[in-house]
């Protein structure tokens, strides 16, 4: 076999092996890997790469190095799962670098983190002012996680006593102009229902890039052709508006009538209507 043919064959084998090991050993991106794993992954790559081009070396040697590497990684991952002490030895623990709004210079020095690194890490979290920080941790991955002072925290709906309906997952029923029957089945809707919805928004399946259905069966979609004006579903806003207008009308009745009993009754109904509105608002607004 000519040298170049062997290189092709070996490369092919190496790539298959690399893909297989990556698929089996790691989930998610390499970004979250610790330094130790990263070094071992490089070792894997290097051992295969040498084996690929050095045709004078028997193919088995490269493979042996590769399998030793795989075993080492698998062993480390397994040990990390089992033992907290091992995890600590491998990665260390998160270190607080800001406490009570004060930078811990000694910790910075110990971790060999410069003030620029600290500021950079904070800026990546959207914090530009060290004064706003109550507490910050240097994670083993080198990132800095920041807890803001309570008066600098972004406002949450709960702070204003605003009720929000719980967020529930939406189902994606059309992807790339193709109906996703499985998603439809999870929702308990039929294809007929989908076509009805599409009709009411003036579109056809082939035209829709994406269509999603929320927990109330309201469908929103994006069309391939952005020039086409589509009707957005507005039934919920309309419902809320009509409750409001009916409530206002009841109040007017109460003002206009001269019958005392009727006045009381209208007042009561207006109040009830307001309660309904309040109860439904979080669900109808989302």
């Amino acid at each position: 076999m000519a040298g170049w043919q062997e290189v092709i064959l070996r490369s092919f084998l190496a790539i298959v092996l690399l893909i297989a090991s990556a698929r089996l050993l790691f989930r998610g991106s390499l970004y979250r890997l610790g330094v130790v794993e990263l070094v071992l992954v490089i070792f894997l790559g290097a051992s295969l790469a040498f084996g690929v081009v050095q045709t004078s070396v028997p193919i088995a040697h490269g493979l042996i190095a590769y399998f030793v590497g795989v075993l080492a990684i698998a062993g480390i991952l397994w040990l990390k799962q089992k033992s907290k002490v091992f995890r600590f030895m491998l990665h260390g623990t998160p270190v607080p670098v800001v406490k009570n709004g004060k930078i811990l210079e000694d910790e910075l020095k110990k971790e060999r983190l410069t003030s620029d690194d600290l500021l950079y890490g904070m800026r990546r979290r959207g914090v530009f002012n060290v004064q706003d920080v109550e507490f910050a941790m240097l994670e083993p991955t080198g990132e800095i996680d920041v807890l803001l002072k309570s008066d600098q925290e972004p406002l949450k709906p709960g702070d204003l006593n605003i009720q929000k309906a719980p967020v529930k997952e939406t189902e994606t029923v059309i992807v790339d102009g193709k109906v996703q029957d499985e998603a439809l089945a999870r929702l308990g809707f039929s294809r007929d229902w989908l076509h009805e919805q599409l009709d009411s928004q003036g579109a056809i399946v082939e035209n829709a890039f994406l269509a999603q259905v929320d927990r109330d069966g309201t469908m929103t979609m994006d069309l391939y052709d952005d020039q086409i004006k589509k009707k957005q579903p507005k039934e919920k806003q309309q419902l809320l508006a009509s409750i409001k207008s009916c409530q206002a009308q009841l109040e007017i009745f109460s003002l206009e009538t001269e019958n005392k009993d009727a006045k009381l009754m209208y007042d009561r109904l207006a109040k009830k209507a307001d309660q309904i509105r309040e109860r439904l608002e979080p669900y109808l607004k989302s």
Partner: protein, 68 residues
């Protein structure tokens, strides 16, 4: 528009709201939503009932509007 007609129109709107809420209730996948819509339907029904009673009273007070 007479008072009678206005109340009647209001009643019709509430019936429409009830129907829309029923529709949402049947379509929702979420228990919490379902409960909220169900309660709202019951409340709208009470309102409709009260308004219907008021219409009967108005008919008695202003018999000329009967049947409008």
């Amino acid at each position: 528009m007479t008072v009678y007609q206005q109340v009647k129109q209001n009643l019709a709107k509430w019936k429409g709201i009830e129907a829309a809420l029923n529709d949402l209730r049947e379509k929702t996948q979420d228990d919490e939503c379902y409960e909220a819509y169900r309660e709202a339907v019951l409340e709208t029904r009470t309102i409709s009932k009260n308004l219907t009673d008021r219409l009967v009273e108005l008919e008695k007070e202003e018999p000329q509007y009967k049947g409008n």
